[in-house]
Symmetry: C2
Subunit: 295 residues, 2 copies
């Protein structure tokens, strides 16, 4: 196997190892990062977990050799999956996070003073343990007093959850291949809508339309089958292939634009680096080809 | 030099060559594409020009080993650099394009019925010739009757241009390293504003804030020194490192939001894949960290 690059610039990297993210979802295309130092690499009961250091993006977590988070750009994903629904209901008191073992999602949720209880269900304890050690800026809220972290199968957890108890369900999953696939099924979404209050909201990561057209179409269709209201929105994550990353906003009728509480959210004075209330409205204005995919 | 990837998926690519875009602007990070077939590779008087075929993104043009365009995602860049200013002045009759040798920018401009004359100044004839041969979907407008293509230095061209003759100047440059650097100077911007009519607009590509913070800050500062009105906006280009790509909208006072002509633009019925008038407004709503960079 060989690879080429900018010959004028190679000298300083001559002896270095490049990781190229490869996936059947985007053949022939990937994000490349130098593996400057491997800090952790083990197989858990569920998957392969690796942490390496990169000079530009900081510590990088791979699961089954795909980039999950990097220290430098994780804020986009976590702010967008949390603050978009929370701006619609900043008084939410009960949230469920499925997946999200690195801790970035609960880190954003605990910022809300009204939030009382966050149930977090991560199937793989190793992901949390590794995040605690190597991704402290993400994982610091995993042990927050508002967070009830359980190591369980998310599918089983939602099945066993009583009706109408959550304001918010966040599906912070891996890609819909392998263990994450069940988190992209209608059956799972039916449990999600059941356990949400009447004004409850579900957000989920919904892949990228640039290299995963069919997958995006599939996610949108399935969520729409179950939820009366669904609108996709996006953020830009440079270390995810395709970069323009979709999230779904699903509810029984609550609308992220008409029902957003701009003033209430801004009064909270939360420190964010990507999200703001102008961008909240803007992130639902999709490029034309994506609108067509999600119709 | 070695590189690693998803071992589970490597079999089919075992004998294939990966190109990794490397730049001192983003050390340790790059976009990787399989070089499925090299179609052209020569050095012109100015730079190294290469075309290769990639299974996902189609034909890819490299200049000095950096990705300029790919057939699959070039529409984002070209629609955003053209339709954002043109929606503000859909009756524009005279435009100047600096650079843009692949032809994508003039392809979008010739769609406007009111447009009478597009001067295009590309320093390197080889770029146009190669685009004509290997990027026909981009280059087809290079020989359009409205297009006056000259192979000259853009800096000299604007110096020799009379005052106040253009409605629109588009700076479709390479990165501000090497030959493209002069297109990011105050001196150049002073000529641009001089040759624009009073309601004229300049748009330029302004790099990415994820991996080029200093460069973005520099471009914004320099344009602001010269133009009374400046606002950055963005599009998402998966094969550019950082993906969230900034463009600048600069004028003597014309404002892209207050002065946009939504109905007039929509009446034209232009076929676009990324741009639409809702996204026009949205693309000026920048993530918080980028607002701060561009202040």
């Amino acid at each position: 196997m060989t690879e080429t690059g900018n010959r004028a610039n190679t000298t300083q990297w001559e002896s270095e190892e490049w990781y190229i993210e490869r996936s059947e979802l985007n053949p022939g295309f990937g994000i490349a990062l130098t593996k400057d130092r491997v800090l952790f690499h083990e197989r858990s009961e569920f998957q392969e977990v690796e942490i390496f250091e990169n000079r530009l993006f900081g510590n990088v977590m791979l699961i089954d050799n795909l980039v999950m988070v990097t220290e430098k750009d994780e804020f986009v994903y976590h702010e967008m999956i949390v603050h978009v629904p929370m701006c619609v209901n900043p008084d939410a008191t009960a949230a469920l996070v499925i997946g999200g073992g690195d801790g970035g999602t609960v880190r954003e949720l605990v910022k809300y003073p009204a939030m009382e209880r966050i149930d977090m269900v991560e199937i793989d304890r190793m992901v949390c343990d590794v995040a605690r050690q190597y991704l402290p800026t993400l994982s610091r809220a995993l042990d927050h007093e508002k967070v009830n972290l359980v190591y369980e199968d998310g599918i089983q957890f939602v099945k066993n959850t009583p009706d109408s108890i959550y304001d918010l369900v966040i599906v912070d999953s891996t890609d819909p291949v392998g263990p994450g696939e069940v988190l992209f099924t209608e059956e799972f979404y039916r449990d999600c809508i059941r356990i949400l209050k009447d004004d409850g909201i579900m957000t989920n990561q919904s892949e990228t339309p640039f290299v995963g057209e069919d997958m995006v179409r599939g996610v949108c269709r399935k969520v729409r089958e179950v939820f009366p209201f669904f609108r996709p929105y996006y953020g830009v994550i440079p270390t995810y292939p395709g970069a323009l990353w979709l999230f779904g906003f699903a509810s029984k009728g609550v609308d992220p634009l008409h029902d957003m509480r701009t003033e209430a959210w801004n009064r909270l004075g939360l420190a964010t680096r990507y999200y703001n209330t102008a961008l909240h409205t803007a992130c639902f204005a999709l490029p034309t080809f994506i609108q067509k995919l999600c119709e």
